[in-house]
Symmetry: C2
Subunit: 338 residues, 2 copies
């Protein structure tokens, strides 16, 4: 059973998940190599994943057979397990709980050689609808406090299978980075009675030097103090704390800007490995007034020196203004959607 343990000094929960198949002696692991013939995410291999949780497929077609366009399955090596009660326990001065949670994989397309940015607007929209739908479903489970949706694209970004996919982890804890954002935006709201993200968008829109693109509902920008080169955020221009509350108009507009932002990063940086994470409100948390959900996209361009994580002190060799300029010039070759 995986275990959640809390660092007693900085209150950060860590999943210790030794059942993921490796023995300590197996480190460093070999990089997993995949081709489409052996890929368990390809059509015709539906029996090689755990049974599907959800799929977009033609009416009348059977679960776990071919024909789907987006497919959700449990992670075969889950970091957290769905069965069981949430037990908390003290171990002397330390705290732990058993590793209850959901860990799902969203296979974004049946096509092995495409990436998310290659899909049509409609197909990206379908992927986003799956994110929304799975979030709404899992919210009903009162054991969970957060739903983390993320993507590791490319081996250097942590992907262990080549076939394009995203992941969802529902956890009984709130990730530390989100906690810090909640605290920061709450403090700001307390002083100013305004959302700090909305204020940031307003300020950036005036100067415009960190804005990459926008449509009616969303904006893509480089944040003021990014940890990484070309770190890129997509935010709703309207105030909203919960990603899963998106309606049709919002999902359509988000699909458009997400696809175009990824295409732009691909074109400017020559198909980099990247991660994205959706930062959204925790479940059962009254943060509607002050929190503002958003996508954070981080291309993995630099070998990040480990001291940066250990210290929380980042050195970024590309200013966000320069990065925005490069991205804007790249986008300019096509019609600007702003």
């Amino acid at each position: 059973m995986p275990e959640l343990r809390k660092d007693p000094i900085i209150d950060r929960w860590v999943i210790i998940s030794t059942e993921r198949g490796k023995r300590p002696k197996d480190y460093p692991p070999l990089p997993p190599k995949q081709n489409s013939e052996k890929c368990p995410f390809c059509p015709g291999k539906e029996d090689q994943t755990p049974p599907e949780i959800f799929a977009f497929r033609p009416t009348g077609s059977q679960s776990n057979t071919q024909g789907w366009s987006v497919r959700v399955v449990p992670n075969k090596y889950p970091a957290l397990k769905i069965e069981g009660e949430l037990d908390r326990e003290g171990v002397g001065m330390f705290d732990k709980m058993n590793g209850i949670g959901a860990h799902e994989v969203i296979i974004e397309t049946p096509e092995h050689h495409l990436e998310l940015a290659d899909l049509s607007y409609k197909e990206v929209e379908d992927v986003l609808w799956v994110f929304v739908g799975r979030s709404i479903d899992l919210k009903q489970d009162k054991r969970f406090r957060y739903i983390l949706i993320f993507k590791n694209q490319g081996e250097a970004a942590g992907a262990s299978l080549e076939h394009t996919h995203s992941q969802l982890i529902a956890t009984p804890i709130i990730p530390l980075q989100v906690q810090n954002e909640l605290q920061g935006s709450k403090d700001y709201f307390h002083h100013k009675e305004r959302c700090i993200f909305c204020d940031g968008i307003r300020q950036d829109s005036k100067g415009g030097e960190r804005i990459v693109m926008q449509n009616e509902l969303f904006v893509t920008l480089e944040p003021y103090a990014p940890c990484f080169p070309f770190e890129t955020w997509i935010l709703p221009k309207f105030h909203a704390s919960d990603f899963a509350a998106l309606k049709k108009e919002g999902v359509q507009a988000l699909a458009q800007i997400l696809k175009e932002t990824l295409m732009c990063l691909h074109k400017a940086l020559n198909l980099p490995p990247y991660n994205f994470i959706i930062h959204t409100a925790p479940l059962q948390n009254n943060c509607e007034e002050f929190y503002h959900w958003h996508f954070e996209i981080v291309p993995r361009l630099t070998r990040v020196a480990g001291f940066e994580w250990g210290s929380g002190f980042f050195i970024n060799p590309v200013s966000p203004e320069e990065a925005a300029q490069v991205l804007k010039e790249t986008c300019c070759n096509k019609k600007n959607s702003a």
Copy 2:
């Protein structure tokens, strides 16, 4: 001029240092390759680094010539610049200051093909004396609030030159991770009137399952809730907040346990790339009672999925008890120094 910018939401300072030589278009950069003939850290190439700040060298020998055993030079591509006043400025809702600081390189040995763990106890001791000496010297500069000493060993850990070296960055801010540790240990002290690190060592010493090795003054252990496989800490068994206050006996004992810990990690994990960071008290900060300095060593074994940094939510596939067991078995082939 490099610039320090503060993320307004989570109060994290980031160095934007675009003068490090690369243009945005240069990403991803090529991995730097080195051999000993071209290495600027080798003896005889003293003119290829900025003039030395300090060196252990035979009495009477000239600065910036051969003969040294440990050598400290300014980083040729510093993340922060030593000259100038510390100016702070608001940019609308954002905060910045100019990037004042020191960025030094400690070349640990003249031998190109050795690593820190290969050096003799006496040579490791000399490297530690340099860490202490440079810290004491830089403390006098009232513009600085923190002295961060770290090592990136191996390309995967962020080293850009092969020749073994550590780095020191003196900054006008306190790194976020250290700030969080200070806050956590202060809160704990407020409730218990005891140091949380001392309590942790006491608890771990009773069970012993996370203790790797110890000598009279120091202990090497795997922390209870580590983010990474084989994350390893070295802590003084006596309470002390400031690394730079170490005296002769302490430096000797630390050199012994540091060398043996690194040798053990090398042997158990087949020479992994690694980082270490010294977590110590900030300058001009009254944390003597509650903070406890320590080394954090992180082998770079897994490709860390970027979502882990973005969320602050870590999945560790090796429990610290398993890791300690593997390391203890590895060490057992030689005399146990405990």
